[in-house]
């Protein structure tokens, strides 16, 4: 019998990490869109390694929660929400790889205070925001869609 507080402690850690991650991703993406244009993007993007740290914490605490209650996410039957979440996380990874591999990240680093980011950077930022919102959606639906198929 596990102590009652173990699950909420992991969940709290999971939420802290997600909030930090969403905060960094959200503010960087919004700035690329043109909100708070007075912020130069190079120093803002310096926060991105912290988003990676936050993602690692979210992944580790998520894995711990998965181990504690595997049926909630993994089924059987297949949980559509969990499948959707994993798919969207993979798409985010792909989007991020494209962002770095195409040199877009470096181009965005050159966007100074008061300047506009390129249209392609805005598309990548929009895709990032939509996919992250999707990940939150699938996560919230985990318990509701368990056993839906």
């Amino acid at each position: 019998m596990k102590a009652w507080w173990i699950v909420p402690v992991w969940k709290t850690l999971h939420y802290f990490a997600i909030a930090a991650l969403a905060g960094i991703v959200g503010l960087v993406d919004l700035r690329i869109f043109g909100v708070a244009k007075g912020l130069p993007l190079r120093p803002l993007q310096r926060l991105m390694p912290w988003a990676v740290v936050a993602f690692a914490v979210a992944a580790a605490s998520g894995y711990a929660l998965l181990r504690i209650n595997p049926a909630n996410s993994l089924g059987p039957p297949v949980n559509v929400a969990f499948a959707g979440k994993v798919l969207f996380l993979l798409l985010i990874g792909l989007n991020d790889i494209l962002y770095f591999a195409t040199g877009l990240k470096r181009q965005v680093d050159g966007v100074g205070a008061g300047e506009n980011a390129s249209a392609s950077a805005k598309i990548v930022a929009g895709v990032s925001l939509a996919l992250w919102a999707g990940v939150v959606y699938w996560s919230r639906m985990l318990t509701f869609l368990a056993g839906a198929i």
Binding site: R46, L47, R140
Partner: protein, 158 residues
């Protein structure tokens, strides 16, 4: 109070919200609450981190522009939260952690006003130096947001 309870228990909307198996009922309101709070709390955490020394090259004044979106986040979280509260009034209101969470949320939102006006609104256009009082506000804001999120998670277990 009793009238309020009667209304939430008998109104068609709240009955639908509570009892409908549709994914567009309670789960959707819950999702809006989650996305609103994650964005609002997350952005506030990053803003506090900036005041406490992260990304020191960023000027302070432009951050004021983020606050309009943050208020949308606050409203989204508050309205969806109120709907969920009304749909399950008795359980939530008797939860011992609920007043703790609400106190932290009210303090956190009040600190947003103060930070917006006294720190970001008062900064000169290129100012990057953080006044000591702003650091205190940043720590208080961080404690309130993280505390509110933790209290929200733990509420389900009380």
């Amino acid at each position: 109070m009793q009238i309020l309870q009667q209304w939430t228990e008998t109104s068609a909307f709240f009955i639908w919200l509570r009892e409908s198996p549709s994914i567009w009922a309670y789960p959707t309101v819950f999702f809006l609450h989650t996305i609103g709070l994650i964005f609002t709390a997350g952005a506030n955490i990053v803003i506090s981190a900036r005041l406490l020394g992260a990304a020191p090259a960023l000027p302070l004044a432009p951050f004021a522009r983020f606050f309009r979106l943050l208020w949308i986040g606050v409203w989204l979280t508050a309205i969806s939260g109120l709907i969920m509260l009304a749909s399950d009034l008795e359980t939530t209101i008797t939860n011992r952690l609920f007043p703790v969470k609400m106190t932290l949320v009210v303090c956190a939102v009040a600190l947003m006003f103060v930070l917006r006006r006294r720190v970001f609104g008062a900064a000169t256009p290129d100012q990057t130096s953080v006044p000591p009082s702003a650091r205190v506000l940043a720590i208080a804001s961080l404690v309130c947001w993280l505390g509110a999120v933790a209290a929200g998670r733990f509420m389900a277990y009380f």
